[in-house]
Symmetry: C2
Subunit: 454 residues, 2 copies
């Protein structure tokens, strides 16, 4: 029985083992689940041991433990660092789940339950792949380091303490993460690019206190109006960001990459349906895929000021606020973008108001050299595991962890995601498609085997 | 002893009588004060009787009683309808009052207490003036109808029931109201113009549901951005409203009126200080007084959409909202303004969103023919009562009652206000300046006497 046949023959065993993992309510944000967190860490450590890893450690941290294990018995072969997390999002609101969050249930080819997609199901894919290799080949043909944390949903603080204290020990030739999604059902995907994210809040102050719009209106500056005028000036009629220098560092897509991205089996009509707006907006001169993955944005995420209750109040408020963010693409520099933006806002605002610009967070964009041989092994492994053509994709979102790992270890990061975009990762009825779970185990096993051939 | 000397000699009596009135907590919005409302109505009726009026009625209504009285013993002389209200705003928050709201107290030349300025103190000015005329001249030299309601602070619904049922009985040559403010301390004023008010709420819908700004940002339309762009387009660089036709019906100020308004003893520096902003805005080409009283505005009163809590959320919301209003000046028509505005918004908004525009209320502007002889009598009466030059002013705010009375009876409305702009009419520590209270009694007595000479 070869590796794929072996994995195929153990479908019920894979699932029953995964059910055990999913039943542990390892909610990192809720302190009453602390014992469940400990239990989940122990469970992961046991399974890594059973899959043949050595030096298994449940590393205590200031918050939730991190599980580490390794297999370093393939001298001369590549070393991979695999990262995942065993903690999950809170399940609330409970009454919106069709079946209980921590009682896994299969319906319509999907496995439902908190953590199925994010990220227990995907971690389990690797555990089962390693176990299958051990059971069929006896030993792992490459060197592997595994790091599974328990704080991903609450900020990963302890992870970075661990990484910084163990740089040498964690050294690898590539980083593998399975915590993303495929482009669409039936399209196994490797994500090689993410946008960065700078997040800001602005406060505009006009009058020293709220004023009556009858008594003062017509002469007093209105901070809401001025906030609106500011944001209207931040895009031109082609929906390009007007901040001088904003696009200066944007790397031009190669012809080949642009062609590949636009040829992906991705349906604009489905995207339009998901958005559900009367029409789409976006920067002129770029396809939707290009707009989403390869172009920077400046987006209002929240706005408030004045009277927002029922009925009417004739007020000119003292202050108005907005939260907004820029998605960044290679090679934009988050610090530089903040500087340019701050300078431009200062220039645009009239002298009738004061403003305060807070930087909530900054995050770099990331793109991997997807022509690196590791990526080619991954692509072939996905095609073997799924029996379908695999594709290279980017994502419009941001995963600060990936960027930071890339910057820390300077090695290729390979995002092998087995979720689907509509699987409710942080919402009720989270699920994973069974075909992707099983396909994932086969693909990951092929990947670890394939790397040995490099 | 002449009328003025008589009034001057009774200062303590005026005050002790007013204290009685102020001590009744006639809060129309709070049902536990229903007995106090009844008590206040009875108190007013008693005093009108004592001042020599006939046919006194406490008119029951669906809510709070209205007090009516009249004196029609001067055939051939003008008939005046005086309006006021005996109900007051709730006193809360109680702990912000330096002395209890319903225990009148004198400090620094001011009388403190709920209702001192709005409107019991001003109603009492008329009661004491009538009483003084009766005590000195024996009888009122003009015809007078008095209507004091108990629902002004809760919408005046019963007032309009009464007015509509008694049109013939209420017929008069002029309406007199004392429920406004003087331009400034030491400047007795007659208000002859008010702006109208249309109030709107707009809802912009882009995506069918909230979207992740990473996954969808750059292609999905953002309703907050589009709302901002809409409002930015509603003013030009001179801060004129861009709605086509918006200014078409605005009556041009006469040279004389413009000159008079700009010559008022009004300090721009004090206005700037009250606003407290780094600078003023407003329509180019007009002085502050002109901007506030004679020019229409379009003002954002509230805005909200997306994430407005602590921290960051990377959302593109489905909807964004704003409340906004236009202040209208003669001869703008509120219906027409709503039509023009709706049409312009429809034209400005991109096809990527839907919108809903709700009209919360519409109200006409009002301006009185202040060259009418009644106004001249009022001006001279104020100068006699206060010993100071009196002025004609407008207000930027709106008093729907005045407009409606004007439209109902088609007679001049004379707003003799004895409050000051900073007397906290609806706030803790409401007060009236004693000099204006006493000056008011003398001025109103002179006014009623003076009208007999027409």
């Amino acid at each position: 029985m070869n590796l794929t046949e072996y994995i195929e023959s153990k479908r019920e065993e894979h699932l029953s083992d995964l059910f055990e993992f999913l039943r542990i309510p390892s909610v990192s944000a809720q302190s009453e689940h602390k014992p469940d967190i400990e239990r989940a860490a122990k469970w992961v450590a046991d399974r890594l041991g059973a899959a043949g890893l050595d030096n298994i450690e449940i590393v205590p941290t200031k918050m939730h433990p991190l599980v580490y294990g390794e297999s370093l018995h393939a001298p001369g072969k590549p070393t991979v660092l695999f990262y995942g997390h065993y903690d999950v999002q809170p399940p609330e609101p409970l009454d919106l789940w069709a079946s209980p969050a921590f009682e896994p249930a299969i319906r319509g080819g999907n496995l439902y339950g908190r953590g199925t997609a994010d990220d227990k199901g995907q971690v389990h894919i690797h555990i089962r792949a390693l176990d299958a290799i051990r059971k069929t080949a006896g030993k792992l043909p490459i060197n592997l380091k595994v790091m599974i944390e328990g704080e991903e949903e609450v900020g990963s603080v302890s992870l970075w303490d661990f990484v910084n204290a163990n740089r040498a020990r964690l050294k690898a030739d590539a980083l593998v993460v399975s915590d993303t999604s495929m482009l669409a059902r039936g399209v196994p995907s490797i994500t090689y690019g993410l946008r960065g994210l700078n997040y800001y809040q602005i406060e505009i102050t006009g009058p020293a206190q709220d004023l009556h719009s009858g008594v003062f209106g017509g002469a007093a500056p209105n901070p809401i109006t001025i906030l609106c005028e500011l944001f209207a000036k931040l895009h031109d009629s082609n929906f390009r960001v007007t901040v001088p220098g904003f696009y200066d560092d944007v790397a031009k897509l190669s012809k080949a990459e642009r062609k590949a991205l636009n040829a992906l089996p991705w349906k604009a009509s489905e995207f339009r349906k998901t958005v559900g707006a009367p029409g789409l907006g976006g920067e002129k001169g770029f396809s939707i895929v290009e707009q989403l993955w390869t172009r920077p944005t400046l987006e209002l995420n929240g706005i408030w000021g004045g009277y927002t209750g029922e009925g009417s109040k004739t007020v000119i408020p003292s202050k108005a606020y907005a939260k907004f963010s820029t998605r960044l693409v290679p090679n934009q520099n988050p610090d530089q973008i903040t500087r340019l933006l701050g300078r431009h806002i200062r220039k645009l605002l009239p002298k009738t108001v004061k403003f305060k610009l807070d930087v909530h967070s900054q995050g770099k964009p990331w793109v991997a050299p997807y022509t690196h041989p590791f990526f080619e092994v991954a692509r072939r492994a996905l095609e073997k595991g799924f029996g379908k053509r695999a594709v290279f994709i980017r994502e419009g979102g941001s995963i600060p962890f990936v960027t930071q790992m890339h910057d820390t270890f300077k090695v290729p990061c390979i995002l092998l995601g087995f979720g689907l975009p509509d699987e409710n990762a942080h919402a009720p009825d989270e699920h994973i498609a069974l075909e992707n779970y099983f396909g994932g185990i086969k693909a990951v096993a092929q990947f670890y085997e394939g790397l040995a051939g490099l």
